[in-house]
Amino acid sequence: MSGTFVGMPAFPKAAHEAVHNATLRGNLRHATHTIRSKRAKAVAEVSDWAALREAGKQIKDHTLRHLDDYLVQLEESVTAAGGIVHWAADADEANRIVVELVKMTGETEVVKVKSMATQEIGLNEALEAEGIHAYETDLAELIVQLGKDRPSHILVPAIHRNRGEIRDIFAREMSEWGRPAPEGLTDTPAELAEAARLHLREKFLRAKVGVSGANFMVAETGTLVVVESEGNGRMCLTLPETLISVVGIEKIVPTWQDLEVFLQTLPRSSTAERMNPYTSTWTGTRDGGAGEGDGPQTFHLVLLDNGRTDTLADEVGRQALRCIRCSACLNVCPVYERAGGHAYGSVYPGPIGAILSPQLRGTGSEIDASLPYASTLCGACYEVCPVAIDIPEVLVHLRERVAEGGQATRGGNRVVLKPAKGHAAERAAMRAARWAFSHPGALRTGQRLASRTRRFHPRTLPGPGRAWSETRDLPAVPAEPFRDWWQRTQGGKEAEAK
């Protein structure tokens, strides 16, 4: 993924600052709780939600099972419609392809509609290195870009910023990038939106090249679909002469009819809307390359793998590829709410990020090895997921990979992974506990020992337990474990007196 996330510390360390930042926690709490309750209401309106959820899951699973066939069909359809398909195995290859395509146009500016795939590969940085400026046109993405910041939420990338901060960023940075912010800009939403609108309008009208992602790709017709709220996507998709769409290979659906399911579940799960304001679809070039009609004269589709085939090879983990990026799991996650999106070290934060990033990138780095543990396994994410990804199941599966190593697929090859560093003591403790629990007598001896020495137990713990006793009182060990009471009193039938 993006070079900007390399060398991130482990999740607990990255979360430390956010947890102790009262403003940030307040912003996050307010935003996630608002979307959460709106979403619950929007979902409750649909009488067949459970059936839609199951249908979404089935369509995605079926497509993933036959992904090779559908990708070939998609390529044929796109080509027939006048588009050109490129295959990118990893981030470097995808960036190289896009940079070349932009260079061929002779342009040094591109407008972008929010695309997680291009963030994942660090496209903006790659373009910048070649002297090409990429302008984000989604309001939240614009805020993130102008603020030299990173996105922290799938749907609301600037969720960690408040209005005052946004005003300051606009006033300070807009002039560096194009049309400056109006004089005397205040922090009212209408003024901020207007400032962004004026700034962006200039970009839309000037740009000859657009870069997009896509929410879906329809194999039967080679059509791409973007679902958005602001209309910036439609501007990027229709105005430029050249359109380059960078899309993960898992975004395919076989037919238009399949969209029926997702166009109901996606808006309700993400923005709590019955229908999103803009759904744009595009198929190849204007009039199949004849130069008539609307849309781009040249259309390129870059199909991105970047760890997806490896993920698909994992029988438990592959369900992460069903994700339609609605962000419902982020908005209900109590861990995300406290830790914030940046702690996940990826463009995919929250519960889905905790299972997607360590699969796409592997579990080799400190941050990726810690992500499967960034959850209490409370299950709230699974409950709200519109395509029924059992996130807790995948988290535990990845914990096993981190703690004990095992087989995985990397770069298309089966490899045997060693356990991640720092788990030796835990592994030994788990083994010892298993031994004691396999021998009831040993357990009993341990319990008695704990009971008899209870007056000498420290109030705080050493080692890893210190983290517990810093903020919580330890439970007092009772004078007698239950099993001793049971035996002494014959299950409470005999007198209680010792």
């Binding site: 979360a15 543990y373 209490t376 096993e400 506990a433 298993r434 919580r472 409470g492």
Partner: protein, 251 residues
């Protein structure tokens, strides 16, 4: 009816009062309770921390100890969910790994007859009024695995509402995790502590004397946080409330 009490290793070691309460309650309701002395741990801590292979012998041990009983009752939504939801998964995984059906067959008998306490009372015994008396204001925290894995729904609250003298207060943000999560509380201590503190503040806002739940591990985390924040509220396991009567009230 003769049932086995699966107390769980945490309750056995740290919360024997909960075990005594379950025995007292079930005996009062005419159930013949046995405590198989061979029982230890269901293996959840191992499984959920990523040591699935260490959990397997414990699951087999569980089946050996409890397999013969008509019903298995546990005062823990979390350990109940381990048996009911994750034992079948362990069997499936073993099969998928080419180790045959042995594990699945060993574990299968205990899965359908393992009940969380409130589930057993409402679904099997068919009671909601267990004749309890508890003159306190109580707020109920539905712990995650009981809520989402077992789907306990309103069973615990129905039982509490039928308790004489008890005033039930709604807990704001009730279905949000308290932040315990087993080893999560140690591995991600900052986030865990923040979640615990929010849970305790929500509980405090109800003005109740007691925070009740059906899992002592969550109560250990919430209670430990309450102690540190000097709230004056008490964490109490639901079994202890349901066992309390006018003749023998729980203080």
């Amino acid at each position: 009816m003769r049932v086995a009490l699966f107390l769980t290793c945490v309750n056995d070691t740290l919360y024997p009062d909960t075990g005594r309460a379950v025995v007292k309650l079930l005996t009062r309701l005419g159930v013949d309770v046995d405590f198989p002395m061979g029982q230890t741990c269901c293996g959840q801590a191992h499984y959920n921390t990523g040591y699935r292979h260490e959990a397997e012998p414990l699951a087999r041990h569980f089946s050996d100890v409890f397999g013969e009983y008509e019903a298995i009752v546990t005062p823990s939504g979390s350990c109940g969910a381990m048996v009911r939801e994750l034992y079948p998964r362990m069997g499936e995984r073993a099969r998928a790994e080419g180790r045959g059906d042995t594990l699945a067959q060993t574990l299968a008998p205990v899965v359908p007859k393992t009940y969380e306490l409130t589930e057993f009372l409402v679904d099997v015994l068919g009671v909601t009024d267990v004749g309890a008396y508890y003159p306190h204001t109580v707020t109920y925290h539905p712990t995650c695995h009981g809520l989402r894995s077992l789907g306990l729904g309103d069973r615990p609250r129905r039982l509490l509402q039928a308790v004489k003298g008890l005033e039930l207060r709604e807990l704001p943000g009730a279905d949000e995790c308290c932040g315990f999560g087993g080893t999560f509380a140690v591995k991600n201590s900052d986030v865990s502590a923040a979640m615990g503190a929010d849970k305790v503040r929500n509980a405090e806002s109800t003005g109740a004397d007691v925070l009740c739940a059906a899992d002592n591990s969550c109560l250990m985390h919430i209670g430990g946080t309450m102690g540190r924040l000097n709230t004056g509220m008490r964490p109490v396991h639901i079994a202890e409330i349901l066992a309390s009567t006018e003749e023998e009230p729980l203080v």
